[in-house]
């Protein structure tokens, strides 16, 4: 092969992989850099750092040392799983996203660490998702999505409704991360006409249902191979994780409803509570005069206020979770 082609062939493979994946997912999951407004990515990065630190410590405490390679190899498994297509009809197919499956098999803390590692590798090695927006992607998928997916399994994973719980978990994991990503983009001022918004919401629901079905099918197959693969829903993740999962679900639904139906609603809320003016004073004061102009633009203020709220809620959930976990002595 001439040397030129040696370079072309892999990039063709890569392009093919990219389009394949992009069309399959149909949802913007990994936000690249340049999309989120500064207050949005900054707030989410600041939130993601303690969240990941907590998950890593908890995973390390909960698992014996021999599990370190296991987590890495399971991350590789989720990557590789995207190569196996699930036919869903009309010439389309989907693939596993895996947040819920990882939470069921490794426990929520370890699943969060694995998903964070996947996002980091995707951002660094594959340029899929940004570095500044890594915090947003981690919060969306590895923390909020994963915990929202784990929630039904933890609540009903042992009873008669086990199958439904597994399915629902898969659905919620994808839906929550997609809705959060969407509301972050909307908050950042990315233009999205109502028609586009409706189409993307429809796509989210389809891919979420697909993820639920795939997760359920794999869980059933896994149980027939070795029931030990699946963790006991009661043994992992105290009330803390359930609380954060519920809050994530809540924020995802409210966030999109709010950001899409009331484009000015965030502004009004900010004015009413005074967050915007306070944030403006807080951030503008130490800066040089020419920066003030930036804060006059409405969308930035809107984004700042909305994300400050989002960040506060997540922060509060994390703090509550830690306090609860400590109280229970786990």
């Amino acid at each position: 092969m001439p040397p030129g082609l040696v370079g072309v062939a892999p990039s063709l493979v890569w392009w093919h992989e990219y389009f394949n994946r992009a069309t399959l997912e149909g949802v913007p999951m990994h936000i690249p850099d340049g999309f989120l407004a500064t207050p949005v990515w900054a707030a989410l990065d600041v939130t993601a750092v303690p969240a990941v630190g907590y998950l890593a410590r908890r995973a390390q405490r909960g698992l014996e040392q021999s599990k370190v390679p296991l987590l890495g190899v399971m991350g590789a498994f989720v990557f590789a799983a995207q190569m196996i297509n699930f036919p869903v009809g009309l010439g389309t197919s989907g693939h596993l996203v895996g947040a819920a499956l990882l939470a069921y098999t490794l426990g929520p803390a370890a699943a969060g660490v694995v998903l964070t590692a996947i996002l980091a590798v995707q951002a660094l090695v594959f340029q899929d998702g940004g570095i500044l927006s890594l915090g947003a992607n981690i919060i969306n998928m590895a923390v909020a999505g994963m915990l929202a997916g784990y929630l039904p399994f933890r609540l009903w994973g042992k009873g008669r409704r086990r199958r439904e719980a597994i399915f629902l978990g898969g659905v919620l994991s994808v839906l929550t991360s997609a809705l959060l990503a969407l509301s972050e983009l909307l908050l950042s001022g990315v233009a999205m006409p109502a028609a586009v918004l409706r189409i993307s919401l429809g796509l989210f629901v389809v891919s979420a249902v697909l993820e639920g079905a795939i997760t359920l099918a794999i869980m059933q197959a896994l149980e027939s191979i070795n029931p030990d693969f699946i963790r006991d829903p009661q043994s992992h993740g105290g009330r803390a994780f359930s609380l954060v999962g519920m809050a994530a679900l809540f924020v995802a639904v409210i966030g999109v409803a709010f950001a899409s139906t009331h484009p000015d609603g965030i502004q009004k809320l900010a004015d009413a509570t005074g967050i915007a003016s306070r944030a403006k004073a807080l951030i503008a004061a130490p800066m040089a005069d020419y920066q003030l102009g930036v804060w006059r633009s409405i969308w930035l203020r809107k984004a700042g206020a909305g994300l400050a709220g989002l960040g506060l809620i997540f922060g509060a959930c994390l703090v509550c979770g830690r306090l609860l976990a400590r109280q229970r002595g786990t």
Partner: protein, 243 residues
């Protein structure tokens, strides 16, 4: 495959390759933040930063055209949103979206193609990222290709036995076959991990990876960080004041 390309690029010996990983991480972060927060006189700024990145690519001895092409993987995602922005009557925002995401991806690509991944992770560890997470990332990267190959073998095996796994009509049985294949892949990955851990124990693993030498932050690295900071912030300030 493309990841091998990245591995090869990162093992060069240019002045940029020789810098400490921490210096390069800080410089890349400064670039991303200065670019992300830029609003005024954006077009000349974008050209200036593009020129800086190309210059960095030449200094590092990277095949610049191939690097530019690889960074374009962000464009399909961006193009969708840019098209929506144009349709919504905001062509300038669309342009900013495309340029910002492309330049950011290019900067990260230059960082990872001048720093081998183990060194990069070691640098991150020195900067306070949890070691546990970094070990998981390292294992993930090492076994990514082993497990992917296994998945590929399974796809080929399924195709030889049953035509294609991507048939157009819905078949519950095909769906379940795919689920079965994935659960077998899961079980094999699980088994791999146990084998890997036994092998590590046999070679004296004591809870963390050892590297040949601790990274040293030299004077040249400090100069590099300061120069990057001065150039990136300076260019932006000059352009903003000038306009």
């Amino acid at each position: 495959m493309h990841h091998v390309v990245l591995d090869r690029w990162s093992r060069g010996s240019s002045p940029l390759h020789r810098r400490d990983a921490r210096a390069k991480i800080v410089a890349a972060l400064v670039f991303l933040i200065v670019l992300a927060t830029a609003h005024r006189s954006f077009i000349p700024l974008a050209f200036a930063y593009f020129a800086i990145l190309i210059a960095a690519g030449f200094v590092a001895g990277l095949p610049v055209f191939a690097v530019l092409k690889r960074a374009a993987v962000v464009l399909p995602f961006t193009a969708v949103f840019a098209a929506i922005s144009v349709a919504a009557g905001e062509p300038m925002r669309a342009a900013v979206l495309v340029v910002k995401s492309y330049l950011s991806a290019l900067a990260v690509l230059i960082l990872v193609s001048t720093t081998p991944l183990p060194e990069l992770l070691r640098g991150l560890e020195c900067m306070g990222v949890p070691r546990y997470l970094l070990m998981v990332i390292q294992f993930l990267h090492r076994y990514l290709f082993v497990i992917s190959e296994e998945a590929q073998h399974m796809c080929v095996a399924a195709q030889t036995k049953s035509g294609s796994m991507r048939r157009s009509l819905f078949h519950g049985s095909r769906f379940n076959a795919a689920a079965g294949a994935l659960s077998v892949l899961f079980a094999r990955s699980y088994g791999h991990a146990e084998g890997v851990y036994q092998a590590m124990l046999a070679r004296g693993f004591q809870g963390h990876f050892r590297t040949f030498a601790n990274p040293v932050f030299r004077k040249a690295d400090a100069v590099f960080v300061l120069a990057a900071l001065a150039v990136l912030a300076g260019v932006r300030l000059v352009l903003e004041v000038w306009s």
